[in-house]
Amino acid sequence: MTQSLPSPCSLPILLLRSLKMGGATLFVALFAAAALADEPLYTNRVTDLRTAPEDGSPVLRSLPEKSAVIQLERRGAWTRVQVVGADGDMQADKPADKPADKAGAKNTGKNANKNAVKTAEKSADKTAGKETGWVRMMHLRGGVVVVEAQASSGGGFMSGFGKLFGGGSSRGSTQAQSATVGIRGLSPEELKTASPDAAALAKMNSYKSDKPEAERYAKEAKLAQTNVPELNDAAGGRR
C-alpha cells in the first residue's frame, strides 16, 4: 500500500497507453480528462502540511486558508499535495521548480525557494523540488466558480459544481447555461430524441454479475463485509 499512484496528470497518459485506443470517442474522453486535470484545490481553513498521512506525523508547516494545492495521491482520509501558492498563484512554476533528476539530489541549487529546499531531500519523484506533503482531504475544496448548467441526471453523480471554498462562502456569481455544446453524449436533447435500444439493453443485462460471484471477487481482493454504524445528517464529526 505504499506504492505511489499515478498523478492526476499522468493518469490520462497511462490510460492512453493501456487502453490501446478502442475508438475515437474514448480518445475524446481521455483528451477531455487530460485537459480538465489542472485546476487546483484550496485549503478551506488553516491546516497542517505533514510528512505522512497521519495526525501524529511531523508538521512541515501550517498552510493558511485558501492555499492552492494540486492533488498527487491519496491515502484514506489524506491527500498528498503539491503546494502551488495562495489563490492560484502558481509558485511551483518558477524555474527552480523544474522537475529534478530522479534522485532529486541536485535540486537544492540556485533558484530554489525555501519551500522547495525544505522538501527537496525527501522527494524522489517528479515533484522533487516542489513543496509537497500530506493534508487532510476534508480540508480541501474546489476553488472554481463554476457555471451551472440545467442538466443533471435523475440521481446523477455529477449533480453540481461551484462556489468558492464551501460553507456557503460563494465568491463571484454563477449563471445558468444550457449544457452540451458540441459534444456527443447524453444531452437533454439527445436523450429526448433517442430511440430506445432494446438490443443494447439485453446486452447490458448479459454482463450482470450475481451475489456469489461478486462476493468471490471481493474476497480475492481481501475485501470483507464490515459493520459500520449508521451515518446521520447532523453528526458533528468535523476534524
Binding site: 477531455a32 440545467q150 435523475g154 453540481g160 460553507g167 439493453l201 450482470k208
Partner: protein, 305 residues
Amino acid sequence: MKTNMNMIKNCVAVLAVLGLVAASSPTFAFGFLKKFDINKAIDKGKKGLEAFKDITEPEEIQMGDGIGAMILGASPLYPDQNLQRYVNKIGRWVASQSSRPDLPWAFAVIDTPTINAFALPGGKVFISTGLLARLTSESELAGVLAHEVAHVMQKHQVTAIQSARKTGFVQDGVQTYASDRIGKTGVGSNALAGAIANAAAGEAIDFVKNGLFLRPLDKSLEYDADRLGALLLAKAGYDPYGLISVIQKLATLRPEDSAASIVMSTHPTPSDRLRELEKNSATLDKFSGQPQLEDRFVKVMGTVK
C-alpha cells in the same frame, strides 16, 4: 379520505420540489372549468387514480428498462466485455450491502465523454467513460456506484416518476403516456421490443422524452445518496474516502469545458457535498484504512481494449 388528503399534500410537496406546481396548477383550473367533457373527465379520473397508486417493484424494474433503453439509444455501451463485467462485479458487491440486495442489479459503462453516472429505478446504473477515465482506484469506482445504488435503495427516481405521473394528471397535454401513444408517435410498437414492450417501460420512455429524467433531484436527496454511498462503501470493505475523493476530483474540473458542463445542475456543489459528508468524518475515519485497490483497478483498465 384523510389518507387521500395526505397523499395530495405529499404530491404537492414533491411537485414543489420539482418546481412544477406554479406552472401546472392554473392551467388545470381554467382548462377544467372552461370546457367540461364528461368522457375526458372520466379518463382523467382514471389516470388520476393510477397516478396515486404506488409503483410496484416489478413496475419499477420495467421503468428502469425503459429509461435504460433510452440512455443506450443515446449513448452506446463501451465495447469491452471485460470492463463491463468488472464494473458489474464491483457494483453487485456494493449493492449486496444495500437494503435491496436482490434487485436485478445491472451496471454499464457507456461510451460518452460526458462526465457522469446515472441510477435508474429497479437497479440499473450507468457510468460514462468520461468519468471512468478520471478514476484511479477501485474504491473510487465503487464509490460512484455506491452513490448510485443509494439512489435506487431510497427510490429517489421512483418518487420523481410518481410525481411526474401526478403532474400528468394535473396538467393535461404536457404528459402523455406511451401506452396511449404507441403507434402514434416515434415510439412505435416496433421499437418497443423485448424487456421494454410493456406499459411501465413505455411510461418511463415518455418520462425521458418529456425531458423529466434530466431534472435535478432535490439537494437533500443527493446528500442522502452521498452519505448512504459512503456507508455502503465502508460496509463493502472499501475505504469510504473513495467516494469523497471522486467528489473532490469533480471540484477540480474546469467549468467551461463542455464535458464538465454537460451534467451540472444548480445544486449541490462539490463543496457543499463535502461539507455534508464531513459531518460524519469521525466515523468515516475509522474505516479509512480499508483497501483502496488501486492495483486491481489499474490492472483491469490496462486490459481494456
